[in-house]
Symmetry: C2
Subunit: 195 residues, 2 copies
DNA sequence: GTCTATAGTGCGATAGAC
DNA sequence: GTCTATCGCACTATAGAC
C-alpha cells in the first residue's frame, strides 16, 4: 500500500511538529492540547487518538529528537592517535546539529526541567542513546589522554558544557561562524578533560 | 515598633518558604497558589495581598535567593599571585552553598526554564549580582593566567559548569565529601580556563 | 481515523466582611 | 492584614456521529 497522496503528511507527524514549535515558544505547561491540535490543523479528539495523554506526546517527541541527534554525532571507530581530532569532530557535529535544530535543542532543555517525565525515564533515554560517549572517555583514560577523574562526573560535565555552548551559539547565531568563538568553545571543553 | 512577638514569622515569609518547597517538589507550573497558601497556613486572599500575582511571588523568591548566594561567594580582594587559590575558595563556597541550600539551587534551575519570567529579567539579576565574576576573569586575562577566550563565552561556560557540578553533588550527596570527586570537579572547571 | 461538542476539573484572581 | 466565598475561565480528556 503506497503512502497517502495528499500533501499533508500523516496527522501524527503534524501534531508532533506543531507541538514542538509551541513548546519552544511558550513552554510545555503553557501549551494546551487544544492549541497543538489547532496549529496542526486537526481536532483535539484526533490528538488523543494518537497519544493517550499530553505527556505521552511529550515523551515521544523527546525520544525521537534524542534518537536523531545521537545518530548525527555517533562516531565510526576510535583511533588513539587521533583522539583529540575525533573529539573535535564529534563536538562540532553536535554544535552544528544544535544550531541547525535550535527548536529541538531548546525543547530538550525544557524537558530536562519538566517534572511530569520522571528523572529515570530521561536517564534511561540518555544511557540508551549516548553510551558511546562513556566508551570514548574510558578509552581516553586507558591511553592516558584523558584525566583520571570519576567517569560519571566527567559525563555530566561534558553534557553540561555542550548544553552551555550550544545555548550560547543559539542565542548569538552570528558568533557561531566566528572561529575565535567556535575554537574557544571546543578548547574550553577539551582542556577541562586533558591530563 | 518592635517585631511581632508571636513565633510564626510574618506571613509573607511563610508564603515564600512554602512556595519554595512546593516548587522544588512539583515544579512551578504544577504548584497552585491555593496549595502555597494552604502549606503556609494562610488564606489564598492573603497571598494575593502580599503578591500581585503568582509570577511576582516567583520573581521575588528568585531575587532573594540570588542575592543571598552572591553575598556568600563574593570575594574580598584580588591577588594576582593567588588567583587559582582564590578561584578554588570561591568555587568551593559556591558548591557548599548549593549543597546546604539544595532547594534554593533546584529552584534557580527551574526558573532558568520558566518562561513567564523574561530572559531579560533574569539576565539583569545575574549581571547585578555577579558582576564580580567578570572582573575576576578580566583580571586573570590581564595577568596571563586565564586564556584569552571571549569573555561572554567564558562566563556562560563557568556558570554552566557550576550548575552541572552542583547538580551532580546534590544528586549524589555522599560523594561531595570525597576529595577525589570534589577536587576533580574544581579541576574540570579550572583547567578549562587556564593557559 | 477524524470530527464536533461537551463533561468535569482545577486554576488565578477578586469581593467584601471583619 | 487576613479571612471566606466564589467568579469566570481554560484546561485535559471523553463520547458518539460520520
Amino acid at each position: 500500500m503506497p503512502v497517502n497522496s495528499s500533501q499533508p503528511k500523516n496527522k501524527k507527524q503534524q501534531l508532533l511538529d506543531a507541538a514542538l514549535a509551541l513548546f519552544v515558544n511558550q513552554g510545555i505547561y503553557a501549551t494546551s492540547t487544544a492549541s497543538i491540535a489547532k496549529k496542526a490543523g486537526v481536532a483535539t479528539g484526533t490528538l488523543f487518538h494518537h497519544f493517550p495523554s499530553k505527556d505521552a506526546l511529550v515523551l515521544e517527541l523527546y525520544k525521537n529528537i534524542k534518537q536523531e541527534f545521537a545518530l548525527q554525532i555517533a562516531p565510526f571507530e576510535l583511533d588513539v592517535t587521533q583522539l583529540e581530532q575525533q573529539a573535535k569532530v564529534i563536538w562540532q557535529q553536535a554544535i552544528d546539529w544544535a544550531l541547525a535544530n535550535a527548536d529541538q535543542q531548546q525543547f530538550c532543555l525544557l524537558v530536562m526541567q519538566y517534572q511530569p517525565l520522571s528523572a529515570n525515564t530521561k536517564a534511561q533515554i540518555f544511557a540508551d542513546e549516548f553510551g558511546f560517549l562513556k566508551e570514548i572517555m574510558l578509552f581516553g583514560q586507558q591511553h592516558q589522554l584523558i584525566a583520571d577523574y570519576p567517569i560519571e562526573l566527567m559525563l555530566e560535565s561534558a553534557h553540561g558544557q555542550f548544553l552551555t555552548s550550544s545555548q550560547f551559539f543559539i542565542n548569538n547565531t552570528e558568533l557561531a561562524q566566528d572561529t575565535k568563538y567556535s575554537e574557544a568553545a571546543f578548547n574550553l571543553f577539551w582542556k577541562s578533560f586533558t591530563n
